[in-house]
């Protein structure tokens, strides 16, 4: 095992252990998402959703739940001096970026594993679109993870941390949301899933993920300097 991979596994393991013991991000994200569904039920005054409306509700909810997680992803590092410890360690700093992005990706995957079935039970009549939806979810999670880690590490060292994360994140994820909602809408149609431009949107998601993974990898060094 190379030192980089060792460090990667150590950070991921530490974060997952902390989350399992303290439960300070995921339950809040799940609760938030489920409550938001209920608000949408009354806000839109619908008991069943399909097509672009269903896709919009799913992605808006997931986005705001993700903001909760992104806000806290570097909290332990900041409060307990983890940044200094990592700066002292003889490993590539991009490892911290990769590890945090992986943790965020896992959080989002777990969140979706719980919340998407709840959404289906609440609103969907046709469930067969959920299987191809997994591909979209994974591709979007990767974009969220890369961008969220970058934004969170930028905001965590400023005064207005909680305010800056959504402020910076929301405009930046607009293309991601466009691609994700446009790809999801035909999957949740009443008459069963159709794959209208599915590949094109997946390509856009992939391009977005690629660009922000690269940008994050390239600039993360400068965010960690002191």
């Amino acid at each position: 095992m190379t030192p980089s991979r060792q460090a990667f596994m150590a950070v991921v393991g530490k974060d997952l252990r902390i989350e399992l013991r303290t439960m300070r991000s995921l339950p809040a994200m799940v609760l938030f998402a489920v409550t938001t569904f209920i608000i949408f039920r009354f806000g839109l005054d619908r008991t069943a959703l399909s097509g672009s409306l269903a896709s919009g509700v799913v992605w808006t909810t997931l986005l705001f739940a993700a903001v909760l997680g992104i806000n806290r992803i570097f909290l332990a590092e900041r409060e307990e001096g983890g940044f200094d410890a990592f700066r002292l360690a003889p490993v590539d700093r991009a490892v911290l970026f990769a590890a945090k992005a992986a943790v965020l990706f896992l959080y989002l995957a777990v969140l979706e594993l719980i919340v998407i079935p709840v959404f289906a039970v609440f609103f969907l009549q046709e469930w067969s679109g959920l299987l191809p939806l997994i591909v979209i979810l994974m591709a979007t999670n990767l974009g969220f993870a890369a961008l969220g880690t970058l934004i969170s590490s930028m905001a965590v060292n400023s005064r207005a941390r909680d305010l800056l994360v959504p402020l910076l994140l929301l405009p930046l994820v607009v293309p991601l949301m466009i691609a994700a909602t446009s790809a999801t809408a035909p999957l949740l149609d009443v008459g069963g899933p159709s794959y209208d431009k599915f590949g094109t949107w997946l390509l856009v998601l992939g391009l977005y993920d690629g660009i922000f993974c690269l940008v994050g990898y390239a600039v993360f060094d400068f965010l960690l300097e002191d």
Binding site: A160, L164, P171, P175, A179, V204, Y208, V219, F222
Partner: protein, 250 residues
């Protein structure tokens, strides 16, 4: 960047802008479809192009700052983005007016260029709260540069995604090869583009000069304070107040 050449540049900018607007009002033919209203095109589009180029240039300067650690690049990046945001406000206002005149609504959602521009504009508006939420000067410069790079990479991506999502009803004046634009219109447009770009450069130089001057003033004031503190019997709190009026009196 020094203030040398600023006067000549200002005069040149004024001349080109006046020439451009003279061409717009007295020479270029009326648009067959929209008539006089279409003339806002000669202001709106150059503003938008210059603002977007300024955002990208801000990203490039941010990159150069991170590479070299030279604070001048950070100042450039800040001023580029700042003026492009100002130009962005003008772009959105002229865009709304044009939309009202030609489509009957101030805001048209299925028009990708306007929507993408708004998203980019909103993103760059967060540059200010982000920058000033960081206290440490070095860290502020570094983080602002990271923001500039990230946002610079985001600009083309955003335009692509929004364009794909919307139907294309925006007048695509340059898209058709062989020129959707007659020669006289193209010439006028280019003059206006150069004029607006010169205006941007002039304002950038002015802003940088202002920053440089205020930096020098505070440096001199600090030096004076240090001297006064060394030779005088005053307490440190009164030194600055005592010296400043003296400076004005001399």
């Amino acid at each position: 960047m020094s203030g040398r050449g600023l006067k000549q540049l200002s005069i040149l900018t004024a001349l080109v802008l006046i020439a451009g607007f003279a061409l717009v009002f007295f020479w270029v033919p009326m648009d067959a479809d929209q008539g006089f209203k279409q003339k806002i095109f000669y202001l709106h589009v150059p503003l938008a192009i210059v603002a977007l180029c300024g955002f990208i240039a801000g990203g490039v300067e941010g990159f150069r700052h991170l590479r070299s650690g030279d604070r001048r690049h950070d100042a450039n990046s800040y001023v580029f983005i700042h003026l492009s945001v100002v130009f962005g406000v003008a772009t959105l206002i002229t865009g709304c007016l044009w939309a009202k005149a030609s489509w009957g609504h101030f805001w048209v959602w299925d028009e990708p260029t306007l929507v993408s521009f708004l998203i980019v504009f909103l993103l760059y508006c967060t540059y200010y709260p982000f920058r000033y939420a960081i206290e440490d000067r070095d860290r502020q410069a570094r983080y602002a540069s990271v923001f500039a790079i990230m946002a610079g990479a985001f600009v083309p991506l955003n335009f692509m995604a929004v364009r794909m999502a919307e139907s294309l009803i925006h007048p695509r004046v340059f898209a058709t090869s062989g020129g959707g634009l007659p020669g006289s219109m193209m010439f006028t447009f280019l003059v206006c583009l150069v004029g607006v770009a010169l205006l941007w450069v002039t304002l950038v130089k002015l802003e940088l000069l202002g920053k440089q001057t205020s930096g020098q003033v505070s440096k001199l004031r600090r030096a004076l304070e240090a001297q006064g503190f060394g030779g005088g019997e005053e307490t440190s709190g009164t030194v600055g107040r005592r010296i400043a009026p003296n400076l004005e009196a001399q």
